[in-house]
Symmetry: C2
Subunit: 224 residues, 2 copies
DNA sequence: ACAAAAGTGTTGCAAGTACACCCATGC
DNA sequence: GCATGGGTGTACTTGCAACACTTTTGT
């Protein structure tokens, strides 16, 4: 198979990953400080070069693992940027991904979280990539169940509504939201409650994939 | 800029394009017969290797130009396939696109049109790519105006409905369809009619982009 | 006059939106 | 007993789906 000599123009293929999480009513992305030029010292998305023996998806997962101790992640391809001028060093074609995790159960080694509404001065065109990922996430929230990827296994309906409000950037009506979620038939009540200071405890629910609503067409939920 | 030596793993980057058109109540794709192994003699999508000095989008346009005398085309990136085993010769990362044209005003040199419902034995994983492109097209039809890309500049409402029926794979109610289209406020009546044999002539309309409905987020409408 | 496609309105149903009060708990 | 978020139902509006007949032309 691989005996034939390479005859094709060769170039570098990279991956960049927009890793989202929700922390206290804001949507955040994981960023790392660049060590080298170009853009040394500035913040950038975690990324890396795709090696010859791995798939592009695997490269994206590897990059995530290098930055965080991720155990469970939703990962979906976003867009491929192929302008020759993107990286000043060399021609690089970059395949971008976005990913969703629940930050509570996560150690992040190298990177740090930043609110998407307050990003500035990212390296390369990474600010645009984050913005595009946010648009995609916003759209998908309305016809898939990816929102649940940002929550722990058991969650309250208020926490769920919070995820929707943070991503959509607007307040939602509590009664309408709950009715809609419940009639989708994707939630399971538990017998447990979350005690939250001095208010009435909130019932915990779990997510169960149900008829009619699909998670995605082309996305991976990976458990290491 | 480009003075620094390449330090990255290099590999081949290719583009494949799914070019759709509608011909007599069927959705068709442009296919070419492969001259060389692998898959010599089988039909495949038009494609090619991305050269170092062109962007990936430009490579897709170049491929289209090589196969057809295209003058006006809607082109949108579809998905990037990066499994090491896709091409048996060498590691190739393939960026796929789909495109829409009105076949009437088009010379196709090398390729030929094939009904998407009757494809068999395509090279590589091209059958899957066509299927995925079809899904994307179907979805986008419902919230964008890409359907108009398959029509000539002036068209009848019946022709428009036909495009929708062919892509969605189902019959639509004439009255509901017309009402919906008209209230979108994207059609312009002309004073001309299309005479179609021995029936009542149909009024020709033109498309004008209007408020509220966008053509796409990330698509190109290119005029050469 | 007839065949064949163009063109035109109304009604019922479902989904979405707006809106306000009682409940359970900790302090 | 009061402050705090948890939890619940109804009325209105809007968009979608179903449905049949008249008009214009060519032969």
């Amino acid at each position: 198979m691989l005996t034939q000599q390479k005859t094709f123009t060769q170039q570098a293929v990279a991956v960049d990953v927009v890793l989202f999480t929700t922390i206290e009513d804001t949507l955040q992305v994981l960023l790392v400080a660049r060590q080298q030029d170009p853009y040394a010292g500035q913040l950038s998305l975690p990324g890396g070069i795709v090696e010859r023996e791995e798939s592009v998806d695997e490269a994206a997962l590897r990059v995530l693992k290098e930055e965080t101790a991720i155990t469970d992640v939703y990962l979906e391809q976003l867009y491929t940027f192929g302008e020759p001028s993107r990286d000043p060093r060399d021609r690089v074609v970059t395949v971008t991904y976005y990913a969703l995790v629940n930050a509570e159960q996560l150690d992040t080694a190298a990177g740090s979280w930043h609110a998407v509404e307050e990003l500035s001065d990212l390296a390369f065109d990474h600010q645009n990539i984050v913005q595009y990922a946010q648009e995609r996430l916003r759209n998908k929230l309305n016809y898939t169940t990816i929102g649940f990827q940002l929550l722990p296994e058991r969650f309250t309906l208020t926490e769920l509504q919070n995820v929707y409000e943070v991503i959509l950037g607007q307040r939602l009506d509590k009664r309408n939201f709950r009715r809609k979620m419940l009639q989708l038939d994707i939630l399971e009540e538990t017998d447990e409650f979350k005690i939250n200071g001095r208010q009435r405890p909130a019932r915990l629910h779990t997510f169960r994939q149900a008829k009619g609503m699909k998670l995605q067409e082309r996305g991976l939920v990976v458990t290491f």
